[in-house]
Symmetry: C2
Subunit: 283 residues, 2 copies
């Protein structure tokens, strides 16, 4: 019997399902995220057509329950996304397909995929940030994905906010001016009155954005001490950001500790679903 | 042959050396940290008198080099402590005693000791803060001590600093108002003109201190997601701090994620050297 690995990238906007063993061996499909019933049924149908899976990885939007001792292990828990709170996504898929499921956050899975095949190949200490509608972060520490009481929620770190220089109060409904509140895509749009993609590279928006993202990078440097920090998501498509962030990180660290390498993901749009495949392969 | 574990807590002020297997089986001595030659010779003499060791753990002040691939692995590296920069502490002790050395930061070792015998017994996701002359933090993530590019340097996280409410610029020579710059013992003393132990529990110093330390705790919650946060060191001997910190953490998290348990170490003054013993026992 062949070994067939399946992966589901469960996103708030779309689901990506794939079978394969890496970037060069990947058969994928995607469809919009509607109701849990409809969306999960589409995923089940995709995998049933491709024969019995050996293992399935699910890389999910969250928050999720990763505690194997918990009654809601494998659930998407308190998400604000309509209809999806308390959805036993890994239980439903695992039972329907008769397969062992490995479940994690989308960003932890992305860190794993980039460590396996991408921008952090062979690196065991990796942080993956996504900067888009929200800010999320996943981490591999010593080769192990970080879980703990919940899982990393890097977007909600508190960072310095100079209200004289930037009176914008922040957009996070829970915390106002946490990292996500100050530096997510919607924060950029609300502060400047237009989407980031409309702001030229020399607009002051980017220097401010780089300063906030650098404070987040320094937060992970001081706690997780990654060798590599990978930053993806829509906001990071402004290419001027990387040099600015590296400079701000160096300024903030001020020679006290070495800065990690900071750069974009190498796996592009497939990072998420490859992360799910990587989860399945780890077993 | 008996199994004999040795531990060295290498502190900037004093060295503690011990043999034993845990809190109830510990023979210890301590002496001031003078020059590396003299101090390390005293440690060697202590262990030689007690027969051949099976393994030696060293829990050291830092920064230290924990990368086994590095040429300065096992060294205290860029410490400002006179005479101690670039000291091959683990190589010298290991060769003199003919024993395998396991080397880590004092605070990582403390996290390990508290997880093994103390306030976080059986917990695999632990952060240990020490708040004294400086602020340091160690972490166990999924049962593994966090290393990475260097090791955690939690005292140097950037946190919100409202200069209108607290114009004190911070005492960190590298970063000014990082966590250590705002909340270490010397920062408290410089800001208020007297040592923390002279300030009564209802002095506004403690509410401010709790706010800064809570921001640091939120920083580790969002990155390492610990189940337990242990806070020791001289500043934490003010007992009013714990309830204030718990309240500030809850306020900052605002229900978005659950707060970890926050409390003092259980192993008292022996946390450090027990951490070194625990390193030796892990092998």
């Amino acid at each position: 019997m062949n070994t067939i690995y399946g992966g589901v990238e469960a996103g708030g906007t779309k689901f990506v399902c794939a079978i394969g063993t890496g970037p060069d061996d990947l058969e994928r499909t995607s469809f919009p995220t509607t109701t849990p019933d409809e969306t999960i049924a589409q995923a089940i149908a995709f995998f049933r057509e491709r024969g019995p899976l050996s293992a399935l990885g699910i890389a999910s939007f969250g928050p999720v329950d990763l505690d194997p001792r918990s009654e809601t292990y494998g659930y998407i828990t308190s998400t604000p996304k309509a209809g999806w709170a308390n959805t036993d996504i890994s239980g439903i898929l695992g039972r329907a397909l008769g397969v062992q499921v490995r479940f994690d956050t989308d960003v932890n899975a992305a860190a794993l995929a980039e460590s396996r095949w991408g921008a952090a190949r062979g690196v065991d200490d990796v942080v993956y940030f996504t900067v888009g509608t929200g800010i999320g972060g996943g981490a591999l520490a010593g080769g192990h994905l970080v879980h703990g009481l919940l899982h990393p929620e890097m977007g909600h770190m508190r960072i310095p906010h100079d209200r004289a220089a930037d009176p914008y109060p922040g957009i996070c409904p829970y915390h106002g001016d946490c990292l996500e509140g100050l530096a997510s895509g919607p924060a950029v749009e609300q502060r400047w009155g237009t989407r980031g993609e409309n702001l030229p590279p020399d607009h002051p928006a980017w220097q401010l954005e780089a300063r906030y993202l650098a404070a987040g990078v320094v937060g992970v440097v001081c706690t997780l001490s990654p060798r590599r920090v990978i930053m993806g998501g829509g906001v990071m498509e402004q290419p001027c950001l990387f040099p600015m962030i590296r400079e701000e990180v160096a300024t903030l660290l001020n020679g006290y500790v070495q800065a990690p390498e900071i750069g974009p993901p190498a796996l592009g749009k497939d990072t998420g679903v490859l992360g799910a495949i990587a989860l399945a392969m780890v077993g």
